[in-house]
Each structure stands twice: as structure tokens, then as C-alpha cells.
């Protein structure tokens, strides 16, 4: 019986200093999976900034686990105490939770689904591990489709983009003015650009004041993140620019501390100003919403994991079912052969009818036992049932 072994570490168990030492690039992850898959095993290496996990499918779970631990310890010996080891049901459920983003730092984050898909593609998978990963990806997609866990923004930059969408709808063609080019403003503008916006001007301390004010009359979004000690843009400048805007809305996002944008801008008609506190409050609010959605997602994931276990358990009885059906078919064909002297007098359509009736009788007789054996397999009695069927019908005795 094939077993699933998981050995790995994540942000729950290891600090970033340790995680970065066992993080693997794609090629290295692929090579490690290939090495672990030697000797007829299946293996996948999932390595992201928050986790490095090895999934190995093998008949010998103990040796698979030993090899996986050794492989990670070879990358960094200090990681061993921070490793978790899970098998079978627990390992499957863990992977499904990972794919659904339920084990992520930010619950429901969507990037992990793509990372699991890539790991699956690079892994050395056979029937078993391929099925585990396919079903994990399905579970991840289902959670995102049927819950709101991934809908709300989980970072300051995505909160800014969500607010922009509340103001403008589609961001296609929206122009951005960047005041300062810090990391935060870069992230925020990247988020907006990924939704169709374009950068009109990146202004720094050397940019002319008239140039900035001219840009203010045409852009839709201003992102400010300078190191200036005081206000960079006052309400007067924005008000003057508004005259040329013909009533178009202007979204201003102030990511700087101390603030770059005059708070009085908030009172201007058509101007929507948000500072870092506003955005962080939105993120905190939406994260609590994600956690509430996570409860629904957990039950979806558990149901998907259960489906996988049913399939896995049914593997125990599949050979017995196949033998039973083959035996029945053999008997049916044999009996038809014996009756050839009578059947030979029938025309084609009559002969087909006899064939069809006998096949239906066999199918109907075997249908319920087949279903019951699969159900028993899911309830862990599969092997017992399979043996009983083999004994009762003498399956496999001919070969002995």
C-alpha cells in the first residue's frame, strides 16, 4: 500500500534566517525531487519564501521519511529541530490547506496556489502523487471560488489598489503620479499597474514644482512616499489643479511618515486622500474578515481531503473488483460458448440481444457488491472485504 510522507518547515516553525537556508530555486527543487524519487518512489519539493516541504510517496514510509529529513538536513543541519513530519491523512490535509492558502502568513493569499502548481509540474510524480496534487489544486481553487477569503486586500499596496477601484472602477488607462520612489510607493504603483494603470510622472526632489502641478491636472492617482520632513503637496496646489480636471476624481495615497500630503486635501471636492494609518486599518479589518472566511474554507478543504482518502482507500479493493468482474465475464462468455449450438441458429439481432441481456445480468449482479466494497474500503474495512470476495469466488486460485 502506497504511503505519503511529508517533511518540511515553514514560517510557523522556523525564522526567516533558517528558512532562507533551505529555500530552493526551481532547478534545485526539481533535482532534489528527482533524487528522492529514486528507487521507484514519487517526490515533489515545494519551496517558497515561507516554506520548504518534501512530499514523498512510497511503500516504505519510514525510509522515505528518513531520506527526506536527511535531504533537508544536508542543506542546513540546524533545520532538523524545526522540521515537521506528517504521514498519510495528515500530510494530505496539510497539502490541501497549503494550496488553499490556509497555512499562509496571510490567510487566503493566492500566490501559493501557483507555487503548488509549479512544484507539481517540476516534481517526479506517478499516479498517486499526481492525484494528491491535482486534488490539492482543485481544493485551492474551490476555496477561492466559494469563499471570500481572497477577495479583500491583504497589504497596504493592495488596499490602495482596492480603494482606487472603488473610485474609478476599472483602472485601465488611469494615470499615476509618484512623489518619491520608495519601496512602499513602488509596491503600490506595481499593484495599480498590474490592474491597467500607467505611470505618468515619477517626481523627486529635483523635479520642478510647475511640472508636478501640471501633472496633477491630468493624473488620476497620486502616490506619495518621500523622505521630506514636511508637507510636499498642499491643499492649495491640489485645488488649483482641480480647476483643470473638469470634475474628475483624484485619489491621493500618502504612504510617508511624516506625511507628504496636506490633510486639508481631504476636504476638497472630488479628492480622496488616504494616509498610511487609513490603509493599515483597512488591512487589519479585511484580515479579520479573511479569518472568518477561513473557517468556511477549512470545512471545504476537509471535505476535499476526505474525497481523496476515499479514492485512495478504494485502491485496496480495485484488484479484487477487477478480478471479480473478469471472472464473471469469463463465466458469461463460457456459458454462451457452450450454448453455441442453439445460439448458432439465431440471426445477428437476436444474438446481440442475448449478449446484451447476459451482460446486463452480470452487471446488475455485480453492481451492488462493487459499490459496497468501495464503501467498505473508505471505512478502512476494504482489505477484509477484498479477501472475503477473493475467498468466496475463488479469485486468483487458478493462478496458484
Amino acid at each position: 500500500m502506497i504511503r505519503l510522507v511529508l517533511v518540511g518547515t515553514s514560517h510557523h516553525h522556523a525564522p526567516v534566517e533558517l528558512r532562507e537556508r533551505v529555500a530552493l530555486e526551481r532547478d534545485a527543487a526539481q533535482a532534489l525531487a528527482a533524487r528522492l524519487a529514486e528507487g521507484g518512489r514519487e517526490a515533489v519539493c515545494l519551496s517558497t519564501c515561507n516554506r520548504t516541504e518534501l512530499y514523498v510517496a512510497s511503500d516504505d514510509a519510514e525510509s522515505a521519511e528518513r531520506d527526506a529529513v536527511a535531504a533537508l538536513a544536508a542543506l542546513e543541519p540546524e533545520v532538523e529541530p524545526a522540521l515537521y513530519r506528517l504521514q498519510d491523512r495528515a500530510a494530505v490535509l496539510h497539502l490541501f490547506r497549503v494550496a488553499a492558502g490556509l497555512d499562509s502568513l496571510v490567510p487566503g493569499e493566492g500566490e501559493i496556489l501557483g507555487q503548488v502548481r509549479v512544484a507539481h509540474e517540476l516534481g517526479m510524480t506517478g499516479v498517486f502523487l499526481d492525484r494528491v496534487f491535482r486534488q490539492a489544486l482543485h481544493a485551492g481553487r474551490k476555496v477561492r471560488a466559494q469563499t471570500a477569503i481572497g477577495e479583500s486586500p491583504a497589504s497596504v499596496s493592495s488596499a490602495a489598489a482596492a480603494l482606487a477601484e472603488q473610485v474609478f472602477g476599472s483602472l485601465d488607462g488611469c494615470a499615476i503620479l509618484l512623489l518619491g520612489a520608495g519601496k512602499m510607493s513602488e509596491q503600490a504603483s506595481r499593484n495599480l499597474r498590474s490592474r491597467g494603470a500607467t505611470i505618468a510622472l515619477v517626481a523627486n526632489s529635483r523635479t520642478d514644482r510647475p511640472e508636478i502641478e501640471a501633472a496633477l491636472a491630468t493624473v488620476d492617482v497620486v502616490i506619495a512616499s518621500t523622505n521630506a520632513p514636511g508637507t510636499v503637496l498642499d491643499a492649495g496646489a491640489v485645488s488649483r489643479a482641480s480647476a483643470g480636471r473638469r470634475g474628475r476624481q483624484l485619489l491621493l495615497v500618502d504612504l510617508a511618515v511624516p506625511r507628504d500630503l496636506d490633510p486639508a486635501i481631504r476636504d476638497l471636492d472630488g479628492c480622496y486622500l488616504y494616509d498610511i494609518d487609513d490603509l493599515e486599518q483597512i488591512v487589519a479589518e479585511t484580515l479579520s474578515g479573511r479569518r472568518r472566511e477561513a473557517e468556511r474554507a477549512e470545512s471545504l478543504v476537509a471535505a476535499e481531503a476526505e474525497k481523496f482518502h476515499e479514492w485512495h482507500a478504494s485502491l485496496d479493493v480495485v484488484p479484487a473488483i477487477a478480478s471479480l468482474r473478469a471472472k464473471a465475464e469469463e463465466i458469461r462468455a463460457g456459458e454462451l460458448q457452450k450454448a453455441e449450438s442453439i445460439l448458432g441458429r439465431l440471426d445477428d439481432s437476436q444474438r446481440k440481444a442475448v449478449e446484451s441481456v447476459t451482460a446486463q445480468i452480470v452487471n446488475k449482479l455485480l453492481h451492488l457488491p462493487t459499490v459496497r466494497m468501495k464503501q467498505a474500503a473508505a471505512a478502512a474495512d476494504g482489505v477484509l472485504y477484498a479477501e472475503t470476495v477473493r475467498h468466496l469466488f475463488g479469485l486468483g486460485e487458478d493462478e496458484r
Binding site: 479583500s152 486586500p153 488596499a159 482596492a162 480603494l163 477601484e165 472603488q166 473610485v167 474609478f168 472602477g169 473638469r246 470634475g247 474628475r248 476624481q249 481631504r266 471636492d269 472630488g270 480622496y272 488616504y274 487609513d278 486599518q281 483597512i282 479589518e285 479585511t286 474578515g289
Partner: protein, 262 residues
């Protein structure tokens, strides 16, 4: 038949109004039920209007009450164009209670029955009443969108913390939808009023309060269009102007119907 169809129409519209109210408090299932209420109510009212038309020899919505019945149907029709989408459910909270109240008023005035024969020609009624009511339905929706704009803008200004909790149309979308609705409605009203005034002049009939306020309403909505397209008006200012225009629609339709109808 018309009488029998009134009650289910009222029931479905009422259910939609209550559903939208529930959706405002707990978004989700009540909103979906409300949307179905609107659809079924509209279908039932369509059947009601069809029954009225079938039983009447001519245009059956020439009286104040019966034109109110047609007006409700037009408002719900325009709302249905996009109102069933989740972000616009709050618009339903403005539209459906109004639809229920006006339908009850139409019933109270005898506007949901077979109707009485009018001394005006059917063609005149179709052009005048039909076009003016269609325009007023558009203005009602534009006002609803503008009200939603003002509310959403206030939320964006004052409480960004809760802004993402409810799915709402973007400000720019509301603004442009209101403009487009008015841009369709103003020509209809222009034509409807022109037909009415033409008849008034040809028959040397006297001017009444409804005609006077309708002309003022037309002027306000024309100004809205002009200021938006030529004067660079948008956003809050334009939304407030639309709400003023809607007040005039209410005055014409509900407050001073007088002897204009019939």
C-alpha cells in the same frame, strides 16, 4: 384578470423592497431573494399591463392613476437593465419601496383596472404620455444613481475602514451611468413635451401647473446635460443637481397632477 395580477405584482415588489432592506443590513441571501422579487414582479406587472391593453380599445394609461401604473413599470424596467447586479442592490432599496408606494397609489386611483376611455387619440397618448413617462423613469433612475453616488462618496471621504465591506459600484461608474441615463431621457422628454405643447397650441388650450413645472423640469435636466457635457460638471455637484431634478419629477407626477390627466 388585471385585478388578479395586481396583487402578485405588489407582493413581489414588496418582497423585493423588504429583501433589499435586509440586504443593506446583512448582504447576501436577502439581496438575491429581492432580485428575484423584482424580476417576478416586473413579469407580473407586464402581464397586468398587457391585460389592460387587451381589454381597452386604445391607450389605457391616459389617466393620472393608470399612468402611474405605467410609470412604475418603466422605472422597474430601467432598473432591471443593470439593477440585478450585486453592486447595485442598494439602488433597489431606493427604487422598490418607491415602486410599491406608487403602485398602491395607482390602485387607489383606479389605475390598475380596465381604465376609462380618453378623448385624446391613441397616437397622441402614446407619444406624449409614453415619452414623458419613459423620460421620467430615466430621471428617477438617474436620481437613484446620484443618491448612491453621494452616499458612496461620503463613505469614501469619512469611513474608509468600512468601504470594502460592501460591494458597490465605483464612483466613476455611478457618475457616468447617471449621465448616460439622462442623455437618453432628455431627448424623450423633449419630444414628449413638444408633442404636448403642439397639441396645446393647436387647440388653444390653457396652460396648467403640470405643464409649467414639466417645462421647468425639462430645463433643469437640459442644464444638467449641458453643464456636464460643456461646463465640466461631474461628481457631487452634478449628483445634487440630479436630485433637484428628481424633486421636480415628483412634483409633476405626484404633487400637482390636478386636471391635466383625463
Amino acid at each position: 384578470v388585471a385585478e388578479l395580477l395586481f396583487w402578485p405584482a405588489l407582493f413581489f415588489y414588496g418582497e423585493a423592497a423588504v429583501g433589499y432592506l435586509g440586504d443593506a443590513r446583512h448582504p447576501g441571501r436577502p439581496g438575491r431573494l429581492a432580485t428575484w422579487g423584482v424580476r417576478l414582479g416586473w413579469l407580473t406587472q407586464t402581464a397586468l399591463l398587457a391585460a389592460q391593453a387587451a381589454r381597452h380599445d386604445g391607450f389605457p394609461w391616459g389617466t393620472w392613476a393608470s399612468s402611474l401604473n405605467l410609470f412604475v413599470w418603466l422605472v422597474v424596467s430601467v432598473y432591471l437593465v443593470w439593477g440585478c447586479r450585486t453592486p447595485y442592490r442598494l439602488l433597489g432599496l431606493a427604487v422598490m419601496p418607491l415602486a410599491v408606494a406608487l403602485l398602491v397609489a395607482a390602485r387607489a386611483g383606479g389605475g390598475t383596472g380596465v381604465g376609462v376611455a380618453s378623448h385624446y387619440s391613441t397616437l397622441f397618448l402614446v407619444l406624449h404620455v409614453g415619452l414623458v413617462l419613459a423620460a421620467f423613469a430615466g430621471f428617477t433612475l438617474a436620481a437613484g444613481l446620484s443618491g448612491l453616488y453621494v452616499w458612496q462618496e461620503r463613505r469614501l471621504k469619512s469611513s474608509p475602514l468600512t468601504i470594502l465591506r460592501r460591494q458597490m459600484p465605483a464612483l466613476a461608474t455611478l457618475d457616468s451611468l447617471a449621465l448616460r441615463t439622462v442623455a437618453w431621457s432628455v431627448p424623450l422628454l423633449t419630444l414628449g413635451v413638444a408633442v404636448g405643447l403642439g397639441r396645446l397650441v393647436s387647440r388653444h388650450d390653457p396652460m396648467d401647473a403640470v405643464i409649467a413645472v414639466t417645462v421647468v423640469t425639462w430645463a433643469v435636466w437640459c442644464s444638467y446635460l449641458g453643464l456636464r457635457l460643456l461646463g465640466g460638471w461631474a461628481g457631487r455637484r452634478a449628483a445634487y443637481l440630479a436630485l433637484v431634478g428628481f424633486v421636480l419629477v415628483v412634483v409633476v407626477r405626484v404633487v400637482i397632477p390636478g386636471s391635466h390627466f383625463g
